[in-house]
């Protein structure tokens, strides 16, 4: 696995070609879906499940459900993630307790899946919730499984019912049956039946498990499965579903580095909820299952997903609407500008964030050139202004500018640059907000205003540049990017609008003949950052 890199890396390659496009073509989607298919197989998701899953993703990616907060690459990843979470968490529920105690919980699974250890964990967990669990040693097959359960029971502080010595001696069905009776007389409200490990193909043992189930009529039958299992997960899960008809799944050994694709296979093939995750050898290493964490683990895309989350959080729809109105009515002030910038900063370290993006890897050099303190400096400049000045930048004469420069520890040149950029931006925004296509001749040369294509990295870079002082660092690259966009025949008007606002391809390339809606969306997008 490690040798072939993570899905993040491979997707980066796939998406590097998409950076200038705002929308995914069927060919792009196919390429992406192929990578995702491979990643899922690497994560041991069963093939039939992979096939079904990728076709769903493909359909949704091609359908016109475009989330404007994300670039195309992120869109696909998000679709994939949503689908994963939907399957993994679709049937999420808690343990069901019997109305008339004792509640009977039966454990079943392959050999070595971790049933006995889980019995102990479950007992301790239930005990912590005020229950009085009874552990039942119905694994009479494996040498000293009974002893192991007794030790585990002692550690968990739970009673153990073990009338038979095990090691092939005794009838597990009878033990299980007696256990329920025993629990009733001793007032245990939960009975946990540990059964022997068995293979799905072992008809005789499956029949035995079915008889145990019949004898004790459990309220829950938990199927314990090793997170490291491969393609066989489906066959095994189906065999156990037919054999003992389990009601829930427990994923064990999640503390390893297996991606745990089995979780997806089992959940999707059997439709049974995954209820718990077992994450270590200690009796406390046990927790309810988190579908979202599992999804990102299977795909190994945690960094991208957390980025998407951040971007969406920072994108405050209402706020954006408000500012759009301000633009339209010409009441956008430096104060709003500051608020925008602070919202941008809320997203965390820009450099770190750009690094997380699949498309940003090629931009590392530019990233290194970008000084994040520029943002802080711009903030300082605005904060050194009086409220009146912030609202009416026209007040800013020479002496005021000198005072501001001194107050913020910058130079007059920097203050000038900021004010100029703000004015130009406000003017352009106003045009756009009113529905016009901005025809700003100075578009190209405006420092830090040119945006790249569709990549969010470029968008963010542009948005962030907008906030910084007079520095021109990184500017030549930006200009080049814009020229490239032009060279590719993107309609100049739209490109200027989109790129200028750090909006990039999503609105730009997707813009048809109705600039108003597109541009407004574009504006919102920008404002969100």
């Amino acid at each position: 696995m490690a040798t072939f890199g993570t899905l993040s890396d491979r997707l980066t390659q796939t998406f590097s070609a998409l950076r200038t496009k705002g929308k995914l073509s069927p060919a792009d989607v196919d390429k992406t879906v192929r990578e995702i298919r491979r990643a899922l197989l690497d994560a041991d998701v069963a093939l039939p499940v992979v096939k079904e899953f990728t076709s769903t993703v493909r359909e949704r990616a091609l359908a016109d459900e475009v989330n404007r907060a994300l670039n195309p690459a992120q869109q696909v990843v998000q679709i994939v993630n949503e689908e994963l979470v939907a399957i993994l968490g679709g049937e999420q529920r808690r343990l069901e307790f019997a109305k008339n105690p004792p509640t009977v919980i039966m454990l079943a699974g392959l050999q070595g899946a971790g049933k006995t250890t889980l019995a102990g964990k479950l007992a301790k967990w239930l005990k912590g919730q005020g229950h009085t669990p009874l552990l039942v040693a119905a694994d009479l097959q494996r040498p000293n499984a009974v002893t192991q359960l007794q030790v585990v029971g002692e550690q968990a502080g739970a009673a153990v019912f073990a009338p038979e010595p095990g090691n092939g001696v005794g009838d597990p069905v009878k033990v299980a049956k007696d256990a329920v009776q025993h629990a009733r007389t001793r007032l245990h409200d939960v009975v946990i039946v540990d059964t022997a490990g068995r293979l799905g193909v072992d008809a005789e043992l499956m029949k035995q498990a079915a008889s145990i189930r019949k004898a004790v009529d459990p309220d829950e039958v938990l199927f314990v499965i090793d997170a490291m299992i491969g393609q066989d997960a489906v066959a095994t899960a189906q065999a156990f579903q037919e054999g003992v008809d389990f009601t829930g799944v427990v994923l064990s050994k999640l503390d390893g580095d297996a991606r745990g694709g089995a979780a997806l296979s089992v959940a999707s093939v059997t439709g049974r909820p995954i209820m718990f995750a077992s994450t270590g050898e200690g009796l406390d290493d046990f927790e309810p299952f988190h579908p979202d964490r599992m999804a990102s683990r299977i795909l190994d895309l945690g960094d991208i997903l957390s980025l998407i989350e951040q971007a969406q959080k920072a994108f405050d729809q209402e706020e954006a609407q408000k500012v759009a109105e301000k633009f339209a009515t010409d009441s956008f002030t430096l104060e709003d500008f500051l608020a925008q910038m602070q919202q941008l900063k809320k997203m965390g370290s820009i450099k770190g964030m750009l690094g997380m993006l699949p498309g940003a890897r090629g931009m590392r050099e530019q990233l290194d050139n970008f000084d994040e303190s520029e943002l802080t400096r711009t903030e300082a400049i605005i904060q050194s202004m009086t409220p009146a000045e912030r609202r009416m930048p026209k007040l800013l004469n020479g002496s005021r500018r000198l005072r501001i420069a001194r107050g913020s520890g910058t130079t007059v040149t920097e203050v000038n640059a900021l004010v100029n950029r703000f004015e130009q931006a406000a003017k352009m925004m106003k045009t756009v907000a009113k529905g016009g296509v901005p025809n700003v001749p100075g578009m190209g040369p405006i420092p830090g205003m040119g945006g790249g294509g569709g990549a969010a990295s470029a968008r963010k870079a542009a948005a962030k540049k907008k906030g910084k002082g007079g520095s021109k660092s990184g500017n030549p690259a930006k200009r080049a990017a814009e020229q490239a966009a032009r060279a590719q025949g993107v309609r100049p008007g739209v490109a200027a609008g989109g790129a200028g606002f750090g909006l990039g391809g999503v609105g730009g390339a997707g813009a048809g003949t109705e600039p108003t809606a597109e541009e407004l969306a574009a504006l919102q997008k920008f404002l969100g950052r």
Partner: protein
């Protein structure tokens, strides 16, 4: 070796009864290999190789393809020598692996296998962590007719148990000493270091003949990560594949052997004490592709 249920037979049956090789043959073959846990990369490599061969010999007969597939798998498996080297006296065998793969069971079977050939065996219960692991091993040793070295107290350092086991083998001129270790996930750095320590301590008494990594046949692509980590920390010299009596095909072992160069040496196929056999590439390939 009797009939095995874990071959690709079912998946391939429809494939090789067709009159000619067409595009769907390749798709089906890919599906069959992936479902047998060969993994996407190895599947691709095998398919490429077969496509090339089919083109070279310009054959359209699926029977040829089947033969080529079997040969390809056998060839890949046969690149490494599966013979166990147990000529040293005492021959020290360290058994390692993640939790629940069947280390203790394998040791029981292996001890039986060796006593069956008239070798004296001592097993060391250096799994001092898991509840009742010592008793489980003792039961197996009893069945196999081997003696056991138990930890003198609860939670004793596994390295010291291992040392005592080898010491006893030397003192009593026992042919083979097999040391059971606690299951550990390869991501637990502390536990992996503990394994390195066991190895170092045992080596003070003499070289270790074999370090066997037990892999669960139902494991998927994580088997590779396991192998890599255990090779690094324990110096694995051979692989044991267990639970092949189920419906899993264990295709990942091919990838493990190929990537790491460590040969498969033993195969476990059941819970009975006699269910352990040596590994022969030809038989394995033939039963995988009948």
């Amino acid at each position: 070796m009797a009939e095995r249920s874990w071959n690709l037979g079912g998946a391939l049956r429809g494939l090789f009864t067709k009159p000619t090789i067409d595009e769907s043959t390749w798709d089906d073959l890919e599906t069959a290999l992936i479902r047998a846990d060969f993994g996407p990369d190895l599947t691709e490599a095998i398919l490429d190789e077969l496509r090339e061969k089919v083109a070279r010999y310009s054959t359209t007969d699926p029977a040829d393809l089947k033969r080529m597939l079997r040969e390809s798998i056998e060839e890949r498996l046969a690149q490494h020598d599966p013979t166990l080297t147990l000529s040293a006296r005492p021959a020290v065998v360290l058994v390692v692996g993640v939790n629940g793969v069947g280390k203790t069971t394998t040791i029981g079977k292996f001890a039986k296998f060796l006593t069956g050939y008239g070798r004296s065996v001592v097993v060391g219960a250096a799994d001092t962590f898991r509840a009742a692991a010592v008793e489980q091993l003792a039961t197996w040793a009893d069945r196999a007719g081997a003696s056991v070295v138990r930890p003198q107290q609860q939670g004793q350092d596994p390295a010291s148990v291992a040392f005592q086991t080898v010491q006893r083998a030397i003192d009593e001129s026992i042919d083979i000493a097999i040391i059971d270790t606690a299951g550990r996930l390869q991501t637990k750095a502390g536990l992996m270091d503990e394994l390195s320590k066991v190895r170092r301590v045992v080596e003070k008494l003499g070289p270790i003949a074999e370090v066997l990594l037990v892999l669960d046949g139902t494991t998927g692509q994580n088997g590779l990560a396991q192998a890599e980590a255990f090779i690094e920390h324990a110096g694995v010299t051979g692989l044991v594949i267990t639970k092949l009596d189920g419906s899993a095909k264990g295709g990942f072992v091919l990838a493990v052997q190929e990537r790491t160069g460590i040969p498969i040496k033993l195969i476990g196929q059941g819970e009975g004490i006699g269910d352990l056999t040596g590994f022969t590439p030809h038989v394995f390939a033939a039963s995988l592709v009948p």
